[in-house]
């Protein structure tokens, strides 16, 4: 057999049928559901008199629009103040109860942001196809899954048939060799990649991240990287299985035990690209070139090292790009030539499916420890990605570090990443955010998002402006934040 990529192997092992019209029927192992993109799919099933194909492949939880405020959460679903949010969460509960789908309800242990919850429960495992009505589903690719976001019509299709009508993507490999320096995190690595290939650079491709930087990176760090594949245009991001993957999976709730575990592991170990496998596009970056990254504009590709200046539109040769930079600077209220490490920040958000796992919490706490939020900062939200992350962080005393620093320790949910709940920016406010999108209005109408790592966001909270976290780290001489 010809040499195959990891993506080729995952694709081949899930093919139910190759249809005459060039499409394929692909089998789906795991379907993760949440309150925002599922109600119309369940309604579609009902109208057609259909039900789920099977139940043990589905898992659900509310995350997108729920409150992160403790007292509001304690009031339960009926206490959600926003009526339409309440209806959506109640509808998810009702649909899961009606059809018999396993749901981790709003305040139950296990609940969390869909892409934090799936891997931490072991619901998603290496070698699986994973879909969810959310574009950041590529996160699960860190476990060598073929995982991608789908629309609501496809949510209904997967519920009804356990399959998707798909067309194979092309293969792309992004390699980063070398070792990253102190203060350079997985978030900085993926932002640097997006800066290099652009927001559509991976369109039509499944990206495999390879090279020593990813081999050295923790599995949670790999999730941060795969999570943002979509910000480079790729629906799928993946990292091959290695010992770290297997160690990560071991002992999790839905992961097999005993003989079945050994059988699974021996299969999982085959989930790597063969030597000489063909990639349609190869991109290489060098770890030495990557320093902490910050976005200055309104697309994730508008990113620069924290040591850089806000760019000048006239330096863009392409007319459309020049217009794009002008429009972005106007929206962001930034002058060309301003040092990025001087931009004042109004609010700080540490959370989202990109950066809300326990390692992210530790990374932020390391910077916050013994320091105080600057008086000019209106709010710092620390939003753990799941009930399990929250419990672990509290067991380690991280919540106390954040609270002592003047930060707010919240309940798990998507929160200010997309601002569907009350956590949002005011008009014109700048936010140091660990989320994944800096689109216009994403965190609130007129809000200005600067994407960065948890360590950088915590440092901005302390300094009151964007700052190079490496100054803080050398100051306190703690261990590196690179995983």
């Amino acid at each position: 057999m010809a040499a195959r990529t990891l993506y080729d192997k995952l694709w081949d092992s899930h093919l139910v049928n190759e249809n005459d019209d060039g499409s394929s029927l692909l089998y789906i192992d795991r379907h993760v559901l949440h309150e925002v993109t599922s109600p119309q799919a369940f309604e579609g099933l009902r109208i057609a008199g259909r039900g789920p194909w099977r139940l043990d492949t589905n898992i659900a939880t509310p995350d997108h629009n729920i409150s992160t405020d403790r007292s509001e959460r304690e009031a339960g679903v009926s206490g959600i103040p926003d009526e339409i949010s309440r209806i959506q969460v109640q509808t998810l509960d009702d649909n899961c109860d009606h059809f018999g789908i396993k749901e981790f309800k709003m305040n139950e242990m296990g609940q969390g942001i869909v892409h934090v919850m799936g891997p931490e429960l072991g619901a998603t495992m290496p070698g699986m196809t994973v879909v969810c009505g959310d574009s950041h589903t590529a996160t699960h690719g860190a476990l060598a899954c073929l995982a991608h976001g789908i629309g609501t019509s496809e949510v209904e299709h997967v519920l009804a048939t356990q399959c998707l009508v798909s067309k194979k993507m092309k293969n792309m490999r992004v390699s980063v060799e070398g070792a990253v320096g102190l203060g350079v995190t997985p978030k900085d690595v993926v932002l640097a990649i997006i800066g290099k290939i652009g927001t559509a650079g991976g369109s039509g491709h499944a990206i495999e991240f390879s090279g020593s930087v990813f081999r050295d990176m923790s599995v949670e760090g790999r999730m941060t990287v795969c999570n943002m594949a979509i910000e480079a245009g790729a629906r799928v991001g993946m990292v091959a299985v290695d010992e770290k993957t297997i160690t990560y999976c071991k002992g999790r709730e839905f992961v097999p035990k005993g003989d079945l575990w050994h059988q699974a592991v021996s299969y999982w170990q085959t989930l790597v690209s063969d030597d000489n496998a063909f990639f349609d596009i190869e991109v290489e970056l060098h770890a030495n070139d990557i320093v902490p990254q910050v976005t200055w504009g309104t697309s994730p590709e508008m990113v620069a090292p924290v040591t850089a200046l806000v760019p000048r539109p006239e330096d863009q040769v392409n007319k459309e790009r020049r217009k794009g930079v002008e429009r972005a600077l106007d929206y962001m209220g930034l002058e060309s030539g301003t040092p990025i490490a001087s931009i004042a920040v109004d609010r700080v958000f540490i959370g989202s499916c990109t950066n809300s796992r326990i390692e992210d919490m530790r990374e932020a706490a390391q910077v916050a420890k013994g320091r105080q939020v600057a008086s000019s900062i209106k709010q710092v939200l620390i939003v753990p990605g799941s009930q399990m992350v929250k419990a672990q962080a509290e067991a380690e005393g991280l919540d106390k570090i954040f609270i002592a620093a003047g930060m707010e320790w919240r309940e798990p949910g998507c929160s200010m990443c997309l601002a569907m709940n009350a956590d949002k920016l005011g008009d014109g406010e700048h936010c140091a955010s660990t989320s994944n999108r800096n689109f216009e209005g994403r965190q609130g109408k007129g809000g200005r998002t600067h994407l960065m790592s948890p360590a950088m966001a915590a440092a901005a909270a302390v300094a009151g402006h964007i700052v190079d976290v490496r100054h803080f780290l050398s100051e306190s001489m703690t261990t590196g934040v690179n995983s």
């Binding site: 139940l55 589905n58 339409i84 574009s135 048939t161 927001t199 979509i230 217009k323």
Partner: protein, 215 residues
């Protein structure tokens, strides 16, 4: 699923690259359990001067006079002319629902984000891909011509202007057939139910841990 065969209509411009789905339909409007009614909030933050919330009567809201689609000459546009990487960002199908509900039947752009492109076909909206040069020509003609219309034919895969200029576009045959006939995709897949069951039997033998744990 809605069918699409041919459409002639007024063209409206969206002259910027990387239009994301947050721009197409801001998140506050995703708090709905229905598929319809998103049209009045299409491009909400660009289209209105105030902040929009669900449940408002948009007829009373102040329109942004600088937003192209608010200009009288583009009122009633049913073909959206756009730039590259249209529909990037979130997977929300609310984006094509909003375009369709507003009255757009066709989008023409040099490229699309993958998930958005796929979602359009499920909702009877045809995303046409032309080259950047061809899209440039259309933008110039649109600006120069009041009441500019195009004829879009899916069967022949052509976009035709009144000056009889014809632009050909390509797309996957399976997507084309589904859109032409408006077939129920789930029904089509369920015709292969035996194959899916057979796959599951083999899968359970080879990888039994996939099943049974979640209950």
């Amino acid at each position: 699923m809605k069918a699409f065969t041919q459409h002639r209509g007024l063209v409206g411009p969206m002259d910027r690259a990387n239009v994301d789905t947050d721009m197409i339909i801001p998140k506050q409007f995703l708090k709905s359990i229905k598929r319809s009614g998103f049209g009045p909030n299409l491009f909400d933050e660009l289209r209105y001067l105030d902040h929009g919330e669900p449940g408002q009567d948009c007829a009373d809201r102040p329109l942004n006079p600088d937003f192209a689609l608010n200009k009288p000459r583009y009122r009633g546009a049913s073909i959206l002319l756009a730039r590259k990487n249209f529909g990037c960002g979130s997977s929300r199908e609310h984006a094509p629902w909003a375009l369709e509900d507003y009255g757009f039947k066709v989008v023409i752009a040099p490229s699309y984000a993958d998930i958005f492109y796929n979602n359009c076909f499920k909702n009877g909206v045809l995303p046409v891909i032309l080259t950047e040069d061809e899209v440039d020509i259309l933008f110039l003609e649109l600006e120069a011509t009041e009441g500019y219309e195009l004829d879009v034919n899916l069967a022949s895969q052509t976009v035709t202007s009144d000056s009889r200029q014809v632009f050909n576009f390509s797309l996957d045959q399976f997507r084309k057939q589904c859109l032409l006939t408006g077939l129920d995709e789930i029904g089509l897949t369920l015709i292969q139910a035996d194959k899916i069951r057979q796959y599951e039997v083999e899968r359970e033998k080879a990888h039994p841990w996939v099943y049974g744990a979640i209950k």
